[in-house]
Assembly symmetry: C2
Homo-oligomer: 497 residues x 2
């Protein structure tokens, strides 16, 4: 969930100085249009890691925009007035009216996270609190409110560094976080429960935006641009309302601000020489065979899915996984275009029908992620459909994991040069020619669109219970061994648990 926000996003001063005046002007204009239309309010929820720039960003937004149209509300210790009413009253009384913007600091999410981190509520109570928040947001949304939920993120190391630097800064020392943030245990819990909250509550009508907080210029530009694009889309939609107001939230989930992308951050130069490869491959294959026969694994079941760039070597990696296995031990499911029967059902149906029974090892060659990759990029489904698919996928995978399945997800990544070279090879090798089609060349032209879709996919669906593994696959040997080793580690961890 936080992968894209731990890769060191940064924006240089020149770019920043050039972008800010344009962004401010556009934000102001959007804000005035919002006031004139007065069709809906905008609500911005600020959450995330201590020290990740939440306060600074809000301060900046107030400078950039017209502060008379913004109310910043902070919900810390509830007043007597508030304590003597239902908990939601304190939020209701500060809701921004149509045409205005409310920024909520320490909202319902902070409350439930803190309660959970400090053990004041248990797992089920957290789930109930999330469900309550969902009902509130759904209702606000149905009533027209445009909701943005920001999670400001820092890796643990970044947080520690930032808290230290704040401590020495007299201007900022009043903002030093509560003592418990200094403990890394708090960070771990906060991030673990935070991920659970984000997974459940990131819905198409009110998605979470995760912002890497380490670079001030980056996070400021990122928040500003997301708000601008989301607000502009909502203003346009409100002018042609279809059956009430609906906010598409079709602004890009990941922003291309600094050309630093999740996939771009991979070190694709990693290699294995032939001898090490042979040795490690044999070793991992033997280990896999052993692990799959383990009684504790056979009671649970394993599902490994493979996605990746065209020609990234999915097929050959899968063959190395199955290479040393008794064919009765596994099944491979190839996902291609849906059949007529499948098109007559909800989109997830064709995956549900292939859900393995307990104890089986199933390999998906492509998967349900086609919805948010090829179907999104090629326009085979509507933005509304792929936007809600993230939460539908998370729900689906949660059910798999709850049923005991060990779920391992691989994205095999190569760069454009490597792909070009492999495409050419395929065309030149007679027995490989069937593997390359016009479509592959067309997809290549959409490289950047696919990269964005992959980053969104990983950000929205890489969860503690079902993490993505990004595999550097320019070197096929390196990729195959990494796949096998990751799979084995997941099985080992499942046994140990």
């Amino acid at each position: 969930m936080f992968e894209s926000a731990e890769i060191g996003h940064a924006v240089d001063k020149a770019t920043y100085d050039a972008e800010v005046p344009v962004l401010r002007e556009a934000l102001l204009q959007a804000q005035y249009r919002l006031r004139e239309q007065a069709r809906f309010p905008m609500l911005i929820l600020i959450n995330g890691i201590e020290g990740a720039g939440k306060g600074e960003t809000v301060k900046l937004l107030n400078e950039w925009m017209d502060p008379r149209l913004i109310t910043v509300e902070s919900f810390e210790v509830p007043s007597d007035e508030e304590l003597s009413r239902p908990p939601a009253w304190r939020y209701w009384r500060r809701m921004p009216p149509k045409g205005h913007t409310g920024i909520f600091f320490g909202d319902w999410y902070s409350k439930m996270l803190e309660d959970r981190v400090h053990g004041r509520i248990d797992k089920a109570e957290l789930e109930l609190a999330i469900a309550r928040a969902q009902r509130l947001e759904r209702m606000l949304c149905d009533e027209g409110t445009l909701i943005f939920k920001f999670w400001f993120h820092l890796s643990k190391a970044q947080m520690k560094a930032r808290l230290d630097s704040l401590k020495d800064d007299p201007l900022h020392s009043w903002r030093i976080s509560p003592l418990d943030w200094q403990q890394s245990k708090t960070y771990d819990k906060f991030v673990r429960y935070g991920e659970q909250v984000l997974r459940r509550s990131s819905r198409d009508f009110a998605p979470w935006y995760v912002i890497e907080g380490v670079d001030e210029r980056y996070r400021s530009l990122a928040v500003g641009r997301l708000l601008l694009e989301g607000l502009q889309a909502a203003l346009a939609a409100a002018e042609q309302p279809v059956n009430g107001i609906s906010h598409p939230h079709s602004a890009p989930l990941a922003l291309d601000l600094d050309r630093l992308t999740l996939l771009g951050s991979l070190d694709l130069s990693q290699k294995l020489d032939k001898d090490s490869y042979q040795l490690q491959l044999a070793e991992e294959q033997a280990r896999l065979s052993r692990l799959l026969r383990d009684r504790r694994i056979r009671k649970r079941g394993v599902l490994a899915l493979f996605e990746g760039h065209d020609a990234a070597g999915k097929g050959s990696a899968i063959r190395r996984v199955t290479g040393a296995l008794d064919p009765r031990l596994y099944r491979t499911v190839q996902i291609a275009a849906p059949s007529e029967d499948e098109r007559a059902q909800p989109w997830l149906w064709r995956f549900w029908r292939n859900v393995p029974e307990r104890g089986k090892f199933t390999i998906f060659d492509r998967s349900w992620y086609g919805r948010v990759l090829v179907e999104r990029v090629e326009g085979f489904c509507t933005p509304d459909e792929w936007l809600r698919a993230y939460s539908e996928i998370n729900d689906f995978e949660e059910q798999l994991v709850d049923a005991g399945v060990v779920l391992v997800k691989f994205w095999l990544s190569i760069d454009q040069d490597t792909q070009l070279q492999r495409f050419k090879e395929r065309e030149e090798t007679p027995f490989k020619r069937f593997k390359i089609t016009e479509e592959d060349w067309r997809n290549r032209e959409k490289w950047d669109a696919y990269a964005g879709a992959v980053a969104d996919m990983v950000d929205r669906t890489s969860t503690e219970i079902a993490p993505w593994t990004l595999v550097e696959a320019n070197d096929k040997r390196f990729a195959r061994v990494k796949v096998l080793r990751t799979l084995n580690e997941a099985l080992g961890a499942a046994i140990a648990r």
Copy 2:
């Protein structure tokens, strides 16, 4: 929640015989249109009290409609195949495809209710199961599925009689319910938890329809008509899809089949003579004053709201409630048209801002129910808005009750003759003339529309935690004493708890 389904609905044979051929023909046609369009599937969930005619109704639907386009699925003991996969798999594998109808017997609701009744899951786990079901249904709906949820109801006495009669019928004895249904404790639990499930999971996109099951002709016609109207509306909507398929579910929630309505079932001839009235009024007023000073009540707070027909005597009933109270003890909130500030907010906002603090006694003269009464009938809000208002109201009231508030809701009911007489009196009495306007006369013309809206309101929002009290108000003295007595009983019960 089950009020309208315990009043002895029945359809006579002549009406039934006349209606059925027309209904069957229309159902068949709708079914064929569904198949031809093949835009969406229809899913019918069957739940409710044992012996209320669930099986018979499904059998009949299969006779009335084309059974080749219907699949009846029953989910009793899960198979080995099913047990070795996530619990939802058994539902997914039997989902009806587009153009078809699936009838699910013993679906996810039966499962969670049985688990709760038999103590296999606790309160929080039931909430989580409901939230899971909501996500599944929301997803199915987003994917186009038209969902009907039927709850077949019997009062406890009706159930006992029915089970007894089945026992003696050799043709039906195989259908005798499990032993535990013979115990009235099971009935009580089932109805209590059932109400909780319905309250939470009756949403605009997949509402519950409660059907009184005692009269076979009534329940058959009711189900047939609801399906027909809902399906026809959905077919029409699917032909002009706006941004995907959406199912309005704007079929009337309550059916006017036998002219027997909830309000019509009230005995409006109840009266109090002047002496008894004086005596009882004084007694109840004294009791109220005492109860409101009770420490346990002052810790909680009380909210009484009044709705009713025009000229039903809300104002004078409220004056009898407040008559004997210290003015510092209570506050009256008059609800009229929303102000400009209020129109700039979600519709519930103007009620949230008036939520009393703990320990206060607040009286609402009209309330949030305007949304599903006048606003619905007069078209001041869209069907989408008033349909979702029921669950928004239930959410809102649940928060009040969770915060300790004792919530008492009154509908003051009179008949048309009494209203006419009071209107005329008002016109003739100079100091009362201000109370009667053109609008009152106009509302009177919509008497039946209002009666339908009231029945729906009571069915959807009278819950264990916040029940409606219907007050027979043709005789003002009777009404006033009933109001006071009900209020006192609610306070007494709250203290005892």
